[in-house]
Structures are given as structure tokens and as C-alpha cells.
Amino acid sequence: MDEHVLKGGPPTLSLGELERRALRSTVEDGAAELILGLFLVALAMHGMTGSYVYIPVIVLAAPMWRALRRRFVEPRVGGVQLNDARTVQLKSAKRIAAIVVAPVVLLIIGTVFIDAPWRKPLSEFKPLLLVGILSLPIIIAGFLLRTPRFFAHAGVLIVAGMMSIFGVFTFNVALTLAGLVIGICGGVLFILLVRRYPISSVEGDERG
């Protein structure tokens, strides 16, 4: 945590804020963005080459995130297990996000795969709908974790969709660029954390 609770921390000792900080500490390393960027590039590759490389990325996302944290992050900043109540809240939030995303997914399926009379005008907005689906969970995560940079990532995705609609780039190129921007942002955060908290600064048998 940058702002210590004892030195320059919040004027009041808020349990809610402490809990949010603990939760936020799990995404401060940028590992999630690295994986998200990789997923977006893999998704764009599917559009360009037809390969299904994004499927292993989805399957391996959670193990990769855990491995990055265990190998590089936890030995430097420590580990925390959130309360069961918070875990339940997060699960509820995921369910709500799924309910919000589901109609958009159905709309995309409708515009892309079903030969309906309303398909033609809507299919032109497919890139925007797709980035909408992708950015919605990111926005929800940003709101839950009070992490403004997640809103910026969603913004990058939406700009990519807009650029594709206005013909600046093809959708796959725009998605690749968005993936690279988000991934590089995660990579920079990751490197900064690793450099800021070297393992050698933790002594004795009290390493995390």
C-alpha cells in the first residue's frame, strides 16, 4: 500500500476502506491486465487467422494469474485471503455482471449468426457490441475495486471499437492494439512493483 494507515493514511479508520484496500492489493500488480491484454490479442488472432488460441488463454487465465502472484508478487508484498462475506459479494457481483452481459451476447449472436431481417443494420455495430461485452466486466471490476485505471482500459476497448466502425483500422487490428496497450500497462505496473519491492528487502523468516 502506498499510503500507510499510520502515516498519511485516511483521517478515519474505515473498515470498508481497509477491506477495499485489501481487495485492491490483489490487482495492483498489473498481472490481470497482462492476461487481459494477452486474451485480447488472442481474440484478434482468431479474427485474423481463425485459430482458437484464445480458448487456452481463457482456460489458463486463472492458473497464470495465480502463478504470477505466487512466484513474483506474494514474496514481495505478501498474501491475503478475503473474508467469506466479501467472496460471496464478489460472486453476487459476477452473477449480476453475467445477467447484464447475457442480453448483449444474445444480441451479438442475433446479429452475427441468425439470418433475421433486423440483422443487417445491427451487424454494422458488431465491433461496438463486442467491445461493449468485453468492457462491461472491466467497468464493474473498476467500480467494485475503486480502481480508475480499469475504466481507462474499458475506454481503450471502446475507442478500438469506434475506430473500427469509422474505418480507421479493421476490428482485429484495433483489438490487437487495445490488447497491446492494456497488456503493456499491466507489464509496466508489474515491473514497477517488482523493482519497488525487491525480495532482498525482506529479511529473516518473515517473508510473505
Binding site: 499510520l6 479508520l13 477491506e19 492489493s25 506474494e74 485471503q81
Partner: protein, 106 residues
């Protein structure tokens, strides 16, 4: 004041001094909002030095407020800390007492 003037000092003396110490209060409140955390996490979150945190944790462990478990991840030792039920009750009682006391200061 909510209480009579003679009751206030007695209540103040009853405040749990283990919890009342600022650094320990920060440690306890941090552990209050998580299931468990390791030593390093607490050190980073509270800004306490290794020795200082270690000393406060020893006192909290002696009081039975914090459960300390030592384990190894590979070759690396890890100290996992969890707020005990007694510790949770102590914080609840402390916050209730302090609210009660401070309400009388306006």
C-alpha cells in the same frame, strides 16, 4: 453527556489497552476485514517495520487476539495471521466503548 460525570473516568480506565495502542489497533482492524493475511502483507499495509510489527504481534498473540501459524511454501517460510474470535469480540467491544465515550465529549 450521556453518562454521569463520575462514570466517565471509570469507563476510560476499562478501555482495553492492548487494542487501544494505535499500531495494534491498525493491525487488528486490518485483520478484522480479511480472513487471514501473511506477515509481509500486514507490514506493507500498515507501514510498520518488521521488528515493530513482530513485537506488536507477539503481544496480540499473548492476549489471544491473533492466531499465528508458521508454514513453508517451498523453501520459503511464511507467517499467516488470523484474528481470533476473542480478538474480534475485543474490537467490537472496544469500538462500542469508544463510541459511547466519545459521544459524551460533544
Amino acid at each position: 453527556m450521556a453518562e454521569g460525570p463520575d462514570e466517565l473516568p471509570v469507563q476510560l480506565l476499562d478501555i482495553d489497552r492492548i487494542v487501544h495502542e494505535p499500531a495494534r489497533l491498525v493491525i487488528l482492524t486490518q485483520l478484522y476485514v480479511v480472513k487471514h493475511a501473511d506477515f509481509l502483507f500486514l507490514m506493507r499495509q500498515t507501514g510498520l517495520t518488521q521488528g515493530n510489527l513482530s513485537s506488536h504481534l507477539s503481544k496480540l498473540e499473548s492476549a489471544g487476539y491473533v492466531d499465528v501459524k508458521k508454514e513453508f511454501i517451498g523453501k520459503r517460510p511464511r507467517t499467516v495471521l488470523r484474528l481470533s474470535e476473542t480478538g474480534r469480540m475485543a474490537i467490537d467491544e472496544y469500538t462500542t466503548s469508544m463510541k459511547h465515550l466519545l459521544n459524551g465529549i460533544k
